[in-house]
Amino acid sequence: MAEGLTLRAVTFRRGHVTVLLRQSLTVPRGGTLLVTGANGVGKSSLMQLAAGLVRPDEGEVHINGISADSAHPDELVGAGVRRAFVFQQGGLVANLSALNNVALPLRYHADTLGLTDAVIEDRARFCLGAVGIEGPPIHALPGRLSFGIAKRVAFARAMAIEPNYAFFDDPDAGLDHENAQVVQDILTSYRDDPGVTLVLASNHRALIERLGVPVHELVDGRLVRIDMATMAPSSLV
């Protein structure tokens, strides 16, 4: 089966919101899917669904040809899928320091990824440094970190696994201009990496214009491709 992300006739409802209605799509390996849409339309749910974190009500989600809602998520890693996900908010392990949060997936899959303890520590520190986090905050628990720093720690954790499937939900929201630029640089590098399949949701015009990829709007359970030049959605900020 072809590499990439595939949704086949997926229907997914969360509460009273129909996120997707019999939607099929394919994002080839190295491709980018950028989703926009009004608040509450289900962008975050779509991201979780595409990443295989939640099961669709109907239809199938495949990553690299493997069912993404696999009963055992570690099987995906064993099959060569290195998945990274940055939530809009939260998702860090509350009782681990920023450094240990970043190191956690590396330690857990150390033998599959062929990493030693020294390499794990170095890589975790490097990724935190790449998003501008150094010094005392790397030893702080997520609850002690500001929203912006916690979000960047989540970014560092996503980078640490060297993903071939990267999912970002509103990646630059809540960041100051300088850090938003850092995040946009990282996203741009993923966009240009033929080994990374990138899926992201955002309503930020600056990020969308910077990425310069086709934009899909989520409306009434459907993904509709839009021409930014002529019909940019009103939900953009």
């Binding site: 939640v54 055992h72 998520p73 570690d74 996900f85 998702g91 392990v93 509350a94 899959h109």
Partner: protein
């Protein structure tokens, strides 16, 4: 314009359930909970055999931390409860039946304190202390997307979160139960020594006469069963938190009540099974 509020008329409201229907509804819900919890336990146990040495090492680390939290940190509370409970039992026996022979007192200590109180009291202590912590922690992890975050990193939460807590609670309940039993006996002996009766040698003789090899299996069975019930019920209810942190206290309360109820019922069933297989103390005499 003001808000439009529509209250259901009496005809639209669902009819109130009778006591029999309520009992049935509760029974069905309880069955669903146990079935789901047993499924969770099965997944967690089978996940122990998933590949990955590094993953196993991470899980072992979490398990040891949980054993420390549940077992070692629970020691002072178990110590105090067991000593006082043992002494209270002896006091009651002295007050209610002052001339009771030491052999009978020893027999009573085995049947009531060792076979019943030790497993049940330990399970209740662990449920109220660690069970609440487990349900709350997992509930918060669900609400703050930590569980989904783990899954996104290819970390199976049943292996990384549920399994360590299951192993830790079962291990802790078994060990603390033995410890509780010994300290409760110590408390009872201490009070008897203070009052000078019943005769300590006679109590020891009654104890030795009543304690039999199958007690080992009863102890192990009750410890493992109650420990598993507490762990899996609290993990299950923690996992039931869907999106809001306000669900956490509600689920924690449900978890502990059902865990304790489950332990009481399991304890009773195990005792019935034990005496049906081994015979009653009167029959053994």
């Amino acid at each position: 314009m003001g808000p439009s509020i529509h209250n259901a008329s009496p005809e639209e409201r669902p009819p109130a359930r009778g006591w029999l229907a309520s009992l049935g509804h509760e029974g069905i819900e309880t069955w669903h909970v146990w079935a789901s919890a047993i499924g969770l336990m099965a997944f967690a146990l089978t996940s122990a055999f998933s590949p990955g040495r590094a993953a196993a090492r991470s899980v072992r680390k979490v398990t040891l931390a949980q054993i420390f939290f549940t077992g070692a940190q629970g020691l002072p509370f178990v110590t105090a409860t067991a000593l006082v409970l043992g002494a209270t039992m002896m006091l009651q026996m002295r007050v209610a039946a002052p001339g009771l022979p030491g052999e009978i007192v020893g027999k009573f200590l085995v049947t009531v304190v060792l076979r019943e109180f030790a497993p049940l009291a330990t399970a209740i202590i662990v449920a109220s202390r660690s069970g609440t912590a487990i349900a709350t922690e997992i509930g918060n992890m669900q609400a703050s997307l930590e569980i989904l975050g783990l899954s996104s990193m290819g970390i199976d939460s049943r292996r990384f979160v549920v399994l360590p807590r299951l192993v830790a609670v079962v291990t802790s309940v078994v060990v603390l139960m033995v410890y509780f039993g010994l300290l409760a006996l110590l408390g009872a002996f201490a009070l008897a020594a203070v009052f000078g009766s019943p005769d300590l040698a006679a109590i020891r003789s009654g104890l030795a006469e009543t304690l039999v090899m199958p007690d080992l299996f009863l102890f192990a069975g009750k410890g493992v069963g109650c420990g598993a019930l507490v762990a899996v019920t609290c993990c299950h209810y923690g996992m039931q938190v869907k999106g809001s942190i306000t669900e956490v206290p509600l689920m924690t309360g449900k978890a502990v009540i059902r865990a304790v109820l489950g332990c009481v019922l399991f304890n009773f069933a195990a005792t019935l099974l034990y005496y049906s297989l081994v015979g009653t103390p009167a029959a053994q005499m």
